[in-house]
């Protein structure tokens, strides 16, 4: 009795989340996909390091931090562009995107330097 009620609740929760997510605007969904790509790449690199060891440690850090930095910048872009967010109501989305591009340029410059 209790088990089936729990699973029914889980199913209901999952469905409500899915339908709520379907209601988000398309541009936010694109950003979410991009973030997912970055985090997945980071996880793959960490798993690789766990297998072969951390020999060129600087290269490992550079690779992982490029993924993490990309994800962080994408998250901040999503926050600033989201229309439901009261804090950034007055920020033009173009300005947010320009900041995103400049920060990414700096990030990739540093990554290439540290990659060795």
């Amino acid at each position: 009795m209790g088990r089936s009620a729990a699973t029914k609740d889980a199913h209901a929760l999952f469905h409500s989340l899915r339908s709520a997510y379907a209601a988000t605007p398309n541009n936010l969904k694109i950003i979410d996909l991009y973030i997912l790509f970055a985090v997945a790449t980071a996880v793959i690199q960490v798993a690789y390091m766990a297998i072969v060891g951390s020999f060129p440690f600087n290269s490992f850090l550079s690779g992982v931090l490029s993924c993490v930095g990309t994800a962080v910048l994408a998250v901040s872009l999503r926050i600033q562009v989201n229309k439901d967010n009261k804090e950034f109501k007055d920020l033009p989305p173009e300005r947010a995107f320009a900041d995103f591009v400049l920060c990414n340029l700096v990030l990739h410059l540093v990554i290439i330097n540290f990659l060795g």
Partner: protein, 439 residues
Amino acid sequence: MAAPKFAFLLLNLISILPLLVSSFSVDRPTDRRILVLLDDLSLKSSHSLFFSSLKSRGFDLDFKLADDPAIAVKRYGQYMYDGLILLSPSTERFGGSLDVEGVLDFVDSGHDLIVAADANASDLIRNIAAECGVDFDEDPSAVVVDHSSYAVSETEGDHTLIAADDFIQSDVILGNKKIEAPVLFKGIGHSLNPANSMVLKALSASPSSYSTNPSSKLSSQPPSLYGTAISLVSVVQARNAARIMISGSLDMFSNRLFRAGVQKSGSLNKYEKSGNEQFITELSKWIFHERGHLKAVNLRHNKVGESEEPSMYRINDDLEFSVEIFEWSGSSWVPHVSKDVQVQFYMMSPYVLKTLSTNGKGLYHTSFKVPDVYGVFQFKVEYQKLGYTSLSLSKQIPVRPFKHNEYERFITTAFPYYGASFSMMAGFFIFSGVYLYNK
């Protein structure tokens, strides 16, 4: 007027020259001047074979009575002798300025010593021996008795004259000719501390021997010294290459026992001449550094392909190491040939231990790769072989890790990270395009 004066001066100068060449030096390690202290001047004739064999090998013997007040081994801080022979077992005090401390200082400064004790050995001789690592039997009237390994003779029936043939196995110490006949011995025995690694038994008693007073009844307690724990003649090689021989019998050196025939009880072999002369002569050759004295010169190392010694190596470098070892033959340095000289590349523990190969002319060499650890290392050669002086050489050399530009340009194991970084950049471009032009 001037000519005779000049000739006189020249003659004086020339007479100093022999003094200059006759002293012990690092280049010529054989001793030259030996002080012999005797209890009794009749020993000069009763032990003349021993002394004449020493003189025939070029030694300058200076005979003195043990209580002669003119005895002095040191003058103005310099030692006047290179070796000391104490054939004075019953002397309680030496004359002149010599005492136990003086004898020990003599040995500590690298000079050699032969001590012979006897059945009435004084405390002085026992103390000198004890400081050298040899403990004579505490009972002052005890001698070594052996009822199954004694020398068969018509006169002596208490079995105190024993025939010993348990020699130390070393060609360096006893020469490469085997001593066929047993050695006749009559005197006191001593024991060695097993923890002392520098003292060796040159002539050991047989398992059936024991140390006791032959004229008193056997006590109910077992004797404190018995069996092969008794050493009849011991040698000590100190770390500064000083060599000491301690014998429990003065008669062993005498002409009478040198010339005597010997038959060991229980064996049918009768020898015309005892092994005493050969044993004592060969042992004295070793004691006075005519054999078994090594020197190592020219310890060099360099990178493979270069000839200069660098001041620092890098990890994973290939290097070559070489050292030259010579042995003193009594008159000149000859190459020492051995298969077991090893070199260690040492930092707290040896990272590399290699046996050096020799070219037969005294040059030992090897090559190896510097280990993958950086720090300050030492090349260490520690060579300790029975009967030879010990060699302890070391040379320090630092080892550094790779410099930044000594790695390969693109490291293969890092390719996934390179790929990930570039894929992030590509992803950024594609994302911007898709985001901006998305309707």
